[in-house]
């Protein structure tokens, strides 16, 4: 190919972007994590992270992210499976995706009304005799709304994996006498595990860092790593501590990516993650 000469000119804007907006920000976060609130060099932030409430916060943040991912997977896998069996599956898939295009804030805001004391859920509870319950500002509502938000992103990669699955393999397993359950655990699940991994990746990492949903739906009952970072940066103005938490979040992100990076091809980019 004769494009050698053109290459440097092509690359300049993109390369500058890589340096300025990918590499530099990570280095800046790392750099700031070594400074305290008055601007002195210190390792206290790291010491703080392991000794104070931040550590329990990290654990609880992981726990919530785990719950959110678990329930998303639990509801998404059958949905994706049944979708592949429908007649116009691409159309149905599109209908699953459309809600994910609606602004995140609006969907979250809807739940303030739905879960409110005089909202329809509580009205329903009243009718069936459970009585009014405080739903808003609980960890239940936080997990529910998060699962609601993330489900389309989990369904998409699993649907793609299931859709690629050769149905003759299932027939073969059945012919050889495998039960439904064995067919699922020995054939379907292993062959779609990459889709599941992609789904986990696009749900778990954002679930660690949600801060808007915690504020609007969970009151201040649930604090995730994301909430803590936002708090440190925008409220307390302690950029050093915020950066330290961010360093750990980046670290976790890389670990999760390593664990869930099944295939080299960018199959994870099936939809919007943010």
């Amino acid at each position: 190919m004769n494009n050698k000469l053109l290459r440097p000119i092509y690359s300049v804007p993109y390369a500058s972007w890589l340096i300025l907006f990918v590499i530099a920000p990570i280095l800046l976060i790392l750099y700031y994590s070594f400074f305290d609130i008055t601007g002195n060099f210190t390792l206290d932030n790291y010491l703080n992270f392991f000794t104070s409430t931040y550590f329990t916060l990290t654990i609880s943040s992981f726990w919530y992210a785990f719950l959110i991912t678990f329930f998303s997977l639990l509801f998404s896998y059958p949905t994706a499976y049944f979708l592949t069996k429908t007649k116009h599956k691409q159309l149905w898939l599109l209908l699953i995706i459309i809600p994910s295009w609606i602004n995140l804030l609006l969907k979250t805001y809807a739940f303030i009304g739905l879960f409110g004391l005089y909202g329809p859920i509580n009205a329903f509870f009243e009718v069936i005799g459970i009585g009014q319950k405080q739903l808003l500002f609980t960890d239940f509502s936080f997990v529910f709304v998060s699962v609601y938000i993330f489900i389309p992103f989990m369904i998409l990669p699993i649907f793609n994996a299931l859709d690629k699955l050769n149905p003759t393999l299932i027939d073969a397993a059945r012919d050889l006498g495998a039960s439904h359950w064995t067919t699922f655990t020995k054939v379907i699940w292993p062959l779609t595990i990459n889709g599941v991994k992609s789904g986990i990746q696009v749900v778990f990492i954002p679930a660690l860092s949600l801060f808007m949903i915690t504020r609007l739906i969970a009151g201040n009952k649930v604090i995730t790593l994301g909430t803590a970072i936002e708090q440190q940066f925008l409220v307390t103005q302690n950029w050093g501590m915020g950066s330290t938490i961010a360093v750990f979040l980046i670290l976790f992100m890389f670990i999760i990516m390593l664990l869930t990076n099944a295939s080299e091809r960018g199959t994870t980019i099936n939809g919007k993650i943010k």
Partner: protein
């Protein structure tokens, strides 16, 4: 293949119901003359009127659209160049390294992007406001465009370029007459995704916006923190209609370009 029997159908119906219920719930109450999202009193369009009468809200709406269009355009241009650069990088490990760097911003949590950009802008002295928001949106949209364009480039047979060069095409011709038309669907998809990314973004914007500048998401956040106002509902009704129109438009365009492409291939 096994046909769907009743139970899966009911399951799917429930999933669809749950996915759409909050959206239609919002829209339903946007017509409520009462003040809240319970007790539907009577039908009214006053909340829609309120959206259009609120000058501040209109300005924010325009801001949001301007930032989205500009950032999508610029990030598409840079992203296409980036995809070309990656494509023509011969060194395999180098290419892999650049691709993983590219993907960092896609998987990065929004708070990290927001916080790190806030540090960056403060360091290099960019005032928080329109410019900082625009630059951030360009920055986080570029990797998406690259991801959408790259597969199209890889699909392209290198002999196409060789043939064009053999027939006397200049490098510019190769780019504008051969490569760009071929990767057009990828470019459209990238542009569209960048647009929706920008329209949808809350967390990054929240970090890098100053006091004077706001986008729709940030505004809805502060309104929602203050409590329920049906103006937000009316707004969500409008946004829902626009979103659905955009999605339909996008599918129409992608269908069209595909068929054109097939026509060219024949």
């Amino acid at each position: 293949m096994v046909k769907l029997n009743k139970l899966p159908k009911i399951y799917l119906a429930i999933v669809f119901l749950i996915l759409y219920a909050p959206i239609f719930y919002l829209i339903y109450y946007s017509f409520n003359s009462g003040g809240g999202m319970s007790n539907f009193e009577s039908f009214t369009l006053e909340h829609y009127a309120a959206v259009f009468e609120d000058k501040r809200l209109i300005i924010i709406l325009i801001n949001t659209v301007v930032v989205a269009l500009l950032s999508a355009l610029i990030s598409t241009a840079i992203g296409v160049l980036g995809a070309l650069a990656i494509m023509f990088t011969r060194n395999k490990s180098m290419r892999k390294a650049v691709l993983s760097l590219n993907n960092i911003l896609i998987v990065s949590p929004d708070v990290i992007i927001g916080a790190s950009f806030l540090i960056l802008f403060t360091m290099i002295g960019i005032k928080l406001g329109f410019i900082s928001v625009l630059i951030s949106h360009i920055a986080f949209s570029i990797p998406i465009v690259v991801i959408m364009v790259l597969p199209k480039l890889q699909e392209m047979s290198p002999s196409l370029i060789d043939a064009a060069v053999d027939l006397g095409a200049s490098k510019r011709d190769v780019l504008t007459r051969v490569i760009i038309p071929f990767i057009k669907p990828g470019i459209f998809a990238g542009f569209f995704l960048a647009l929706t990314y920008s329209l949808d973004d809350f967390a990054v914007t929240f970090f890098v916006t100053g006091n004077g500048f706001s986008t729709l998401s940030v505004e809805i956040y502060s309104m929602a923190r203050a409590g329920i106002t049906l103006t937000i509902n009316a707004l969500s009704g409008l946004i829902f209609i626009i979103t659905v129109a955009l999605v339909i438009g996008y599918y129409a365009i992608s269908r069209k370009t595909k068929s054109v492409l097939v026509g060219v291939r024949k």
